[in-house]
Amino acid sequence: MAKIHVTTKINGEDAEFLCEPQQTMLDVLRDELSLTGSKEGCGSGDCGACSILVDGRLVCSCLMFGAEAAGTEIMTIEGMSDGDTLHPLQQKFLEHAALQCGFCTPGVLVASKALLDANPNPTEEQARYWLAGNLCRCTGYDKIIEAVMDAAAEMRGE
């Protein structure tokens, strides 16, 4: 079958691409659009390193066909900061040393943003369950949770 032409919006800008029907959104982001911030850790939705927002909803881009992006609005890690200003979560991750190797970090940040968009005042337990789909092998999650809670507090103006 011929490639599919898809028009969509990525990180606030209009975007279009051609993809194979079986290509995942992750493949499209990485291989067609050079947005390599989303990572493939498993390709089966078990690690969360490829997390993106589709119409504001958190999904694994490895579990979505590129063709399904048609008519949606997508946010990737590359769209998280506001120009040169880091998102409070990004800043808190740096301050709390919430990353070691940094490979899971883009996915964790996108997922954390989705959490705070949905629930600006999560408990530690809620944050841990929300982020259970984002595997991190380096940190033991401790400093990630600290950073998320701290960013949430700051965003609430506390």
Partner: protein, 763 residues
């Protein structure tokens, strides 16, 4: 020089600045192995064995080669046949011939997932399709998975030319036992007579994978002039260069390796898997070749660490002194020899001051992927057994387990069970901190109905290493400083390197930018592993910064026209000293940098050393659990890791190592394992059923840093990355025992096993 004295005021070391590579890692721009793209690049996939043990009768690549878009197909025949040669890598000695045969099988496949061919094509999808068309004819052979099967009489033998080393007389019959090792102090056998109480038990552990989130990935470009460039994520760019040169029969100077960001390694990226294949494919196709493993390939084709069977016997007097100890450790090496049985034996009793102790073990091959190093290789396995037995001994004696350890703890001047006398260690301090901690004194609280709570402690040891290391410091013309490290940064080492340089130079750390050099831009460095980088490469960087500092003093002296000895460096500036004090205004680093051309040229220093004397690390962990009696589920309620870290250069990243190591240990304790089916196929090659801990499984991991400085390091640093994975399995098991009265000698302590043990205890 060193900066250890009480009068030395450290301004940078010991603070928590933001890491230099931080912003790139939170905005998605950091470039990992799979993020590389070069002009004309094609993609390759590996064909892997579906059998655990089989003879390769033939490989027909013609159908794959006929697929449109396929550029090259290789098999084992495309790699040179290299002689048997031992080298010291990763967790211990390795043999390049075996490494080559592990990278791609020759006459036999030895495990499910063993590479047999590789296909390069215009797209990854074509390569994958074509790989399915490679026809391999196998003669399936009987296989062995467990060490017991592998050691049994009449077991199928993996290597017909392997005879057990380290036994007398030398065997005449090939077997799966690669070697026997032994460490002995005094006469443990006789000393058991002095014991009032003896604990003797068998323990088992399962192989666990390092489970870094980034799968192995590389791009390799082999040029017609015989020069090759490799972009990859690994624990050592120089390791990749050396191994590729060996395996492909190339000159080292013909290979340049660019270290990309590495998405976790934990020992698992101290070897090559894809790079030699990509090199061969690039050579054959004339195109740059990209290879990325799938998660399934990572589990099936790259090294986990060994599983083992450990027999422990420890005896103590009724007043709590251990008088005799023995430990037999049998480790799975996977398809080729080289399990960490040596370090497993050496570390088994390293926490204790013992006069009569024996530790011996066997390195056993079986039809599993060849093991790779994993954090403190070997130590967690033997320590799980020993620390469980020590706990049981304390229970039998009615003693507090931390106090019991204090009575027997290794101290300075203790003769270690593995031989040498210990020096500058902080084990006792971790135990004292344990006893004094709020956690240890706290009440466990009442468990809900049907659940039981308990607390356990366990300790651990790791040697830590130094080794060949290079670093460089460059003073830039605007007064900023560039530091180059020879080691891939796997957990924030660029931050600590920059901090040590900034401390020496007396400047703010924000003015120092640290990068990791490629193999052509920095001196040789042994790989990132063995908890060595902050210690060893930190020494090299510190010395290069000192050279730069001394050079700047000379430049200031030249400007002032006084003796260089009459200049002292403080607060980032040269000051006239002695009789010249106050005669000239200080010259800052920026002032001197601006005039560097006139005073002799660029200011820089490279330092290559072979760092020695890494201080050993000790840790004690406290774990509270809640056991669900009906389901056997074990929840970790509270966890504290206490560790002697020498001196924490960047405490946040030291804590991070402790927390990450502890959680990997909790995973090892509770759920992680390789599950094989009866055909010898790996049943759980994915994150769904290879169950690493997720965020909701865990409490906060509390940390306490004990700082007993290592006098051999300028700032007192000791390696910190490996020790934290050593105590957790026993800490969890001991907590379970205190909660339920049931001793869990077999890992993982998964719910079905826990429930079965509880049922058995009820009778």
């Amino acid at each position: 020089m060193n900066y250890l004295g009480k009068d030395v005021e450290l301004k940078v070391v010991g603070t928590r600045p933001i890491r230099p590579d931080g912003v790139e890692k939170v905005n998605g721009r950091a470039s990992f192995g799979a993020d590389v793209a070069v002009s004309g690049m094609i993609h390759a996939k590996v064909v892997r064995s579906p059998h655990a043990h089989a003879r390769i009768k033939s490989i027909d690549t013609s159908k794959a080669e006929a697929v449109k878009g396929v550029q090259a197909v290789i098999t084992g025949a495309d790699l040179p046949d290299i002689p048997s040669e031992e080298a010291f890598v990763g967790e211990g000695p390795a043999n390049f011939r075996e490494m080559s045969h592990n990278v791609i099988a020759r006459d036999k496949v030895l495990y499910d997932g063993h590479a047999v061919a590789a296909v390069a094509a215009n797209t990854a999808a074509i390569a994958e399709e074509a790989a399915r068309l490679v026809e391999v004819e196998y003669e399936v052979l009987p296989h062995v998975i467990s060490v017991e099967e592998a050691m049994a009489d009449g077991a199928p033998v993996l290597h017909e030319d392997m005879f057990t080393q380290g036994v007398d007389p030398k065997p005449t019959k090939a077997s799966n036992i690669a070697k026997r090792v032994e460490f002995k102090l005094g006469d443990s056998n006789a000393a058991f007579a002095k014991a009032d109480v003896i604990v003797e038990r068998q323990y088992t552990t399962q192989p666990v994978h390092q489970a870094y989130i980034e799968p192995h990935a590389c791009v390799v470009s082999y040029n017609p002039d015989g020069q090759a460039q490799i972009w990859c994520s690994s624990q050592g760019q120089f390791m990749v260069r050396a191994f590729c040169a060996k395996l492909l029969g190339m000159d080292i100077a013909s290979i340049r390796v660019m270290p990309m960001e590495i998405g976790g390694g934990f020992g698992g990226k101290t070897l090559v898997y894809l790079e030699p294949l990509a090199l061969a494919l690039s050579k054959k196709s004339g195109r740059p070749v990209k290879m990325v493993m799938s998660r399934e390939e990572v589990f099936r084709g790259s090294g986990p660490t060994s599983g083992g069977t450990i027999n422990v016997k420890i005896g103590a007097t009724k007043n709590g002194r251990i008088v005799a100890a023995e430990c037999e450790t049998i480790l799975q090496a996977g398809a080729f020899p080289g399990s960490p049985v040596g370090p497993a034996c050496m570390t088994a009793f390293a926490c204790y001051d013992l006069a009569d102790v024996t530790a011996f073990g066997y390195d056993v091959v079986s039809n599993r992927p060849k093991v790779a190093a994993y954090r403190a290789p070997g130590a967690p396995i033997s320590t799980f057994a020993v620390e469980s037995a020590v706990d049981e001994l304390a229970q039998k004696l009615g003693m507090d387990p931390a106090e019991f350890r204090l009575i027997n703890a290794a101290k300075n001047e203790t003769k270690a069970a593995y031989g040498p006398t210990l020096k500058d260690i902080g084990y006792v301090e971790t135990l004292e901190a344990t006893v004094a901690s709020e956690h240890y004194k706290s009440d466990l609280g009442e468990a809900p109905k049907g659940k039981r709570r308990g607390r356990g402690v366990a300790s651990g040891f790791w040697f830590n290493i130094g080794g060949e290391s290079s670093g460089a410091t460059y003073v830039n013309e605007d007064g900023t400083v560039s530091v180059v490290s020879g080691n891939p940064d796997i957990g924030g080492s660029r931050a600590s390197m920059g901090m040590m340089a900034a401390e020496v130079l007396g400047i703010d750390v924000s003015r120092v930018r640290t990068t990791v050099g490629d193999t052509a831009s920095v001196g040789y460095s042994f790989l990132t592993g063995g908890s060595r980088v902050t210690f060893a490469t930190g020494m090299a960087v510190t010395q290069s910064a000192e050279e730069v500092r001394d050079d700047m003093c000379r430049r200031a002296a030249l400007i002032w026209e006084i003796d260089a000895e009459a200049v002292e460096w403080r607060d980032g500036a040269a000051h006239p000293a002695g009789e010249n004090a106050g005669k000239f205004d200080p010259l800052s680093l920026s002032d001197i940098a601006a005039k560097s051309g006139r005073t002799g040229g660029p200011i820089s220093a490279k330092c290559s050393i072979n760092a020695q004397g890494a201080g050993p690390g000790y840790a004690t962990h406290i774990c509270d659990v809640e056991v669900d009696e009906e389901t056997g589920h074990v929840a970790v309620l509270r966890y504290t890791a206490i560790q002697d870290v020498g001196k924490a250069i960047h405490p946040a990243y030291v804590e991070g190592q402790m927390q990450g190591g502890a959680v990997q240990g909790i995973g090892w304790a509770l759920n992680e394992e390789y599950i094989y089916n009866k055909d010898g196929g790996l049943d759980n090659p994915g994150f769904l059923d290879y169950r690493v801990p997720v965020a909701s499984d865990l409490p906060m991991i509390e940390t306490q840093l004990i700082e007993v400085p290592n006098p051999r390091h300028p700032f007192g640093a000791k390696g910190v990355g490996e020790v934290p994975i050593v105590p957790p399995m026993a800490a969890v098991a001991n907590a379970i025992s205190s909660a339920t009265g049931v001793r869990m000698p077999n890992l993982p302590m998964s719910p079905p096993r826990m429930r079965a043990a509880l049922d058995a205890a009820k009778g």
